[in-house]
C-alpha cells in the first residue's frame, strides 16, 4: 500500500502547482501533487504565452524578475526550454498622453532591470515599420519574450517526478481540513491524503478551497480570447501588445518561429464552470480582426485557423492570492493570477517552496496576501 502522506500536499497541477512541486523537491521536501484532470490542462496550458514583465503592477516586478531569471535557466533546471525566447516585448499606444504614462513606468525604480526604452514618432516607425500609423509610441522591453504554454506545466511536473515527487492526475480534492496538527485531504473518489503543510494552487477554483478554511475571496472567472493564424515566414520576433484603457482596443500578438501568429485580447467570455470550458465569443474574434488590422495592417491576407479560450481566476484588484493563510498554520495559497500568471509560474513555484521550507521569502509577496480580503470583509461587517 502506498503511504498517502508527505511533507507537503499540493492541490492543483497547473503551472503554479507543478513548479512548486519541482522546487519543493529541490529543497528536499516530500511532495504529493493532486490534479483533478491532467497536468496543465487549464489556464496554464492554453494561455497566450506572454513571458512579459513590463506593464505589471510595479510591486510585482521583484517576483517577475525572479521568475525571469528562472526562465533563462530552464534547460538546466528541468531539461526543457519550453520554447522560451527572450525576443523582446513592445507595449504600444495610440495616444500621445499614454506615452507619458509609459515613460513614467519605465522611470520607476522597480522597473530598472527591464531596461525599457521609449520609442515615438518616426523613430518608432523606423524600428517597427510594420506597425499601423495609429501607433504613436511604445515601450520596448528587450529581455521579455514568449514561450509555449502547452509544454510548461507538464515539463515541470515531469522534472518534479524525476526528483521523486508523487503526482496523481484525475484526482479531485473534495474536502480539506486540519485535524490534530496535520492536514487531511479527501478526494471525490474517497481517497485520503495527509501532510504537515498544504499548498492550494487550484487556479480559478482556489477560492472553493480557501473558503473551507474560512477565507473566502471575491474571485471571478473569465475566459480571455485567443486566435492563431496559418504560418507565414518568421519576421516578427517582438511580442507586441497595445496599452489602452479602452477594453476593445486591447490586442496583443506574437509570432512563433514556425510562422504562426498567436493573437489575444478584447472582450472575454464567461466560462461554463459546470462543464469546465471557456468558449470563444465570436464578436470578440471579429473585434480582434479589426484591432489587428489597425495594429498590423499587413495581416489582412492571413487566415485564422483556430480560436480558443481558457478559464482564469480574477480578483478585483487584479492581483493574485499568494502567501500563507491568515487563519491556519502550515496552509499556503497561490491562485487567482488574473490573466498574467504564466510569466510568474517558475518564480511562484520557487518562492512558495522557499516560504514553505524556510518560513519566509527573500522576495516580497506581501501585496498578494489573502488577508487583504479578510480586512475588507471585517470592515464590511463592522460598517453594517
Amino acid at each position: 500500500m502506498t503511504l498517502n502522506k508527505a511533507d507537503v500536499v499540493i492541490v492543483g497541477g497547473g503551472l503554479m502547482g507543478s513548479a512548486a512541486a519541482f522546487f519543493l523537491r529541490q529543497r528536499g521536501q516530500s511532495v504529493i501533487l493532486l490534479e483533478r484532470d491532467q497536468i496543465g490542462q487549464y489556464a496554464s496550458g492554453v494561455n497566450f504565452g506572454n513571458v512579459r514583465r513590463q506593464g505589471r503592477f510595479l510591486g510585482q516586478l521583484e517576483l517577475a524578475n525572479r521568475s525571469w531569471a528562472l526562465w533563462k535557466r530552464l534547460p538546466e533546471l528541468i531539461d526543457d526550454d519550453l520554447e522560451f525566447i527572450a525576443s523582446g516585448h513592445m507595449r504600444v499606444c495610440y495616444r500621445e498622453d499614454e506615452i507619458a504614462e509609459l515613460e513614467a513606468y519605465a522611470a520607476a525604480p522597480e522597473a530598472q532591470q527591464l531596461d525599457l526604452k521609449i520609442y515615438r514618432g518616426s523613430e518608432l516607425h523606423a524600428r517597427f515599420p510594420f506597425l499601423g500609423k495609429d501607433v504613436k509610441g511604445g515601450s520596448y522591453a528587450p529581455h521579455d519574450g514568449h514561450a509555449n504554454p502547452r509544454l510548461a506545466a507538464p515539463a515541470f511536473a515531469r522534472a518534479a517526478r524525476r526528483l521523486g515527487a508523487r503526482i496523481e492526475e484525475r484526482t479531485e480534492v473534495a474536502e480539506v481540513q486540519k485535524v490534530n496538527g496535520d492536514f487531511s485531504v479527501t478526494t471525490t473518489d474517497g481517497r485520503q491524503f495527509s501532510a504537515a503543510q498544504l499548498l492550494i494552487t487550484a487556479g480559478a477554483w482556489g477560492q472553493k478551497l480557501s473558503a473551507q478554511f474560512g477565507e473566502p475571496v471575491p474571485l471571478e472567472t473569465n475566459g480571455p480570447q485567443m486566435a492563431v493564424t496559418e504560418p507565414v515566414p518568421y519576421a516578427l520576433p517582438t511580442v507586441i501588445g497595445v496599452y489602452t484603457k479602452i477594453p476593445e482596443e486591447v490586442i496583443y500578438f506574437r509570432q512563433i518561429p514556425r510562422g504562426n501568429i498567436v493573437i489575444g485580447g478584447g472582450y472575454r467570455s464567461k466560462p461554463d464552470m459546470l462543464n469546465r470550458r471557456a468558449y470563444v465569443e465570436p464578436r470578440s474574434i471579429l473585434n480582434q480582426l479589426d484591432q489587428m488590422r489597425r495594429l498590423l495592417p499587413g495581416v489582412g491576407n492571413l487566415n485564422i485557423i483556430r480560436v480558443w479560450s481558457g478559464i482564469e481566476g480574477y480578483l478585483p484588484d487584479s492581483l493574485p492570492v499568494m502567501g500563507p493563510s491568515g487563519n491556519v498554520d502550515g496552509l499556503y495559497y497561490a491562485f487567482g493570477f488574473c490573466g498574467h500568471g504564466f510569466q510568474l509560474g517558475p518564480g511562484v513555484g520557487d518562492v512558495m517552496a522557499e516560504l514553505i521550507s524556510t518560513g519566509s521569502t527573500s522576495t516580497s509577496i506581501e501585496p498578494f496576501s489573502i488577508r487583504r480580503f479578510a480586512s475588507t470583509a471585517e470592515q464590511r461587517s463592522k460598517a453594517s
Binding site: L151, E230, E281, R293, L302, I305
Partner: protein
C-alpha cells in the same frame, strides 16, 4: 393556427447536398420557409456538385450512372429556390447556442435559429504513407473534384491507392476521361469482399454497378492488385511523385511508376459544427471512427439540433436523400405538426437496407488501422505541421500523452490548417498503437472553430 407559429420558428439547414435539399423540400411542403446555407457557390453538395455557371457538360458526362438522380435533385432545388431563404457561398465558421456565425465574400453575419439541421456531408478519410507529403499526392475526392469541376487530371500517369468504392469509381472516371491509369492498388483482400457479399446484396443494383466498374478496369488492362500494403510514395521534394512502392498480397515488393497518386479510404463525417454545438458523438465499431450520436431519425443529443446525411452517418448519397426527408419529418413531429406516418416508415425502411449495405462496405473495404502501427518513424503524419510518426510516438512514450487532444497539445498533430481533418484519425491510431490500447480509448480530436480558415479581412456587415 399552425402557420402563425411556423413563421416564427426559424429553421436553418446547413448543407445543400442531397440530405439538405430533401430536408428543405419536406419542410417547405409542410409550410415552413427554412434558411439553407452552403459554402459552395451552387447547390448539389459533393456528389451532385453542379458545374460552374457557363460550363455546359451534359448530365451523363458529369454524373454517369447517377445522372437521373442528379437531374432530379437539381430540378427539385430549382423549384424550391423561391420558397426558401437560400444563402450560397456562405461558410458557417462557428456557432453559439441559437446562433450561427457566417462569412460570405468577406462579410460576417449571424443567423439565429430555433432548430438547426446539419447536413454537412463528409470528406476523404486518409491514412498516411511515407512520402505522401510529396507534390502530386492527392486525396481520391480531390482527384475527382479536379476532374468533375475543372475537367483536369491530377497527372499524366496516375496510381489510385487505398480502399473503398470511391477507389474504383474515381479510377474508372479517370479512365473514361482518357487519363493514363497506372494501377489500382487496394489494401482490402478479395476474401473480405466475398465474406461481405450477403450484406452487399442488400442493394444488388449498386453491387452490380460496382462490379461493372471493376470489369471496365480489367477490360482496359489496368493492373488491379488486392490486399496490398502501401510502403512508400517515391519521389523528390522538388520534382514530386515519381512512383509508389507496395507489398503485394503474395509478399513481393511492387513498384509502379507514376507522376500522381490519389489516396483514400472511404469517408469521414464533417462533425465540427455538431461538436461545437455540444452534440455527443459515439464510436462506430464497424467503421472504426466517431460518428454523431443521433437517433434513427436524426435527433442529436442537443435539443433543437438535428443531423442527416453523411455528416451524421456515412451511408452514401441515396441514403442522404432519405435521411434528409426523415429528419425534416422528425422536426415536424417534434413541433407537433401533422406528419404522415407512412412517409416516416418508408424512409426508415429504405435506410435500413442502406445500413445493411454500409456494413457490407465496411467489412469488404476495412479501414487499415494496422498500417498506422507499421508506419516508419520518419513518415509524416500531419502534413500541415510536418510532424512525423516518430515524433508523435515520442509524445506517448516520453510524455505520457495517451489521449488525442493531449498528444495534439504536445506534438501539434492536428493543429494545422486542416484542423486535423486529414490526419487526426490516423494520428489516433498511431497513439493507440504506441500506448497499446484500443483506438476508442484515445478519444477524438475536439472540434474547434473556425470550421474552415477565416480570413483576417473579414468584416462585420454593418446593419
Amino acid at each position: 393556427m399552425a402557420t402563425a407559429r411556423l413563421s416564427n420558428h426559424r429553421v436553418v439547414i446547413v448543407g445543400a447536398g442531397p440530405a439538405g435539399i430533401r430536408c428543405a423540400q419536406t419542410l417547405v411542403a409542410a409550410g415552413f420557409k427554412p434558411v439553407l446555407i452552403d459554402e459552395n457557390r451552387r447547390d448539389g453538395g459533393q456528389i451532385y456538385r453542379r458545374q460552374p455557371e457557363g460550363f455546359t457538360r451534359n448530365y451523363a458526362t458529369l454524373y454517369g450512372t447517377e445522372a437521373d438522380k442528379a437531374r432530379d435533385l437539381h430540378e427539385s432545388f430549382d423549384r424550391l429556390r423561391p420558397q426558401i431563404d437560400y444563402r450560397p457561398d456562405t461558410l458557417v465558421w462557428n456557432l453559439t447556442p441559437g446562433q450561427l456565425c457566417c462569412v460570405s465574400q468577406g462579410l460576417h453575419s449571424t443567423v439565429d435559429y430555433d432548430a438547426l439541421i446539419l447536413c454537412t456531408g463528409a470528406t476523404d478519410r486518409l491514412m498516411p504513407i511515407e512520402g505522401w507529403q510529396l507534390g502530386g499526392t492527392y486525396s481520391l475526392g480531390g482527384a475527382q473534384i479536379a476532374l468533375k469541376a475543372q475537367a483536369v487530371s491530377i497527372g499524366h500517369r496516375v496510381v489510385f491507392m487505398g480502399s473503398g468504392p470511391l477507389l474504383y469509381l474515381v479510377a474508372s472516371q479517370y479512365l473514361k476521361a482518357g487519363a493514363n491509369v497506372a494501377a489500382v492498388l487496394d489494401t482490402a483482400p478479395l476474401g473480405l469482399r466475398i465474406k461481405a457479399l450477403p450484406k452487399l446484396m442488400a442493394r444488388p443494383g449498386l453491387l452490380f454497378t460496382g462490379m461493372k466498374l471493376l470489369a471496365q478496369l480489367y477490360r482496359a488492362k489496368i493492373p488491379v492488385h488486392l490486399g496490398i500494403s502501401p510502403l512508400q510514395v517515391l519521389g523528390e521534394a522538388v520534382s514530386g511523385v515519381s512512383g509508389v512502392r507496395v507489398r503485394t498480397a503474395a509478399g513481393e515488393t511492387l513498384t509502379v511508376d507514376c507522376d500522381a497518386v490519389a489516396l483514400g479510404y472511404h469517408l469521414r463525417p464533417e462533425t465540427q459544427l455538431a461538436d461545437l454545438a455540444g452534440c455527443a458523438l459515439r464510436f462506430d465499431e464497424a467503421s472504426g471512427q466517431w460518428w454523431l450520436d443521433t437517433d434513427e431519425e436524426g435527433r442529436t443529443s442537443v435539443s433543437g439540433v438535428y443531423a442527416a446525411g453523411d455528416g451524421a452517418k456515412i451511408r452514401g448519397a441515396d441514403a442522404a436523400e432519405h435521411a434528409g426527408r426523415l429528419v425534416a419529418l422528425a422536426l415536424l413531429s417534434d413541433l407537433q405538426q401533422p406528419v404522415d406516418a407512412t412517409q416516416v416508415t418508408a424512409q426508415r425502411q429504405a435506410l435500413k437496407v442502406m445500413d445493411q449495405f454500409r456494413l457490407g462496405l465496411a467489412q469488404a473495404f476495412p479501414w487499415p488501422a494496422a498500417q498506422a502501427k507499421a508506419l516508419p518513424d520518419e513518415a509524416i503524419v500531419c502534413r500541415c505541421e510536418m510532424i512525423s510518426a516518430g515524433e508523435l510516438r515520442r509524445t506517448v512514450s516520453e510524455k505520457g500523452a495517451c489521449e488525442v487532444n493531449r498528444a495534439k497539445a504536445f506534438s501539434r498533430v492536428g493543429m494545422g490548417r486542416c484542423q486535423g481533418r486529414y490526419c487526426s484519425q490516423a494520428g489516433a491510431e498511431v497513439i493507440a498503437a504506441a500506448a497499446g490500447v484500443h483506438v476508442q480509448e484515445v478519444g477524438r480530436q475536439r472540434g474547434q472553430a473556425p470550421v474552415k480558415p477565416l480570413s483576417m479581412l473579414t468584416r462585420e456587415v454593418t446593419p
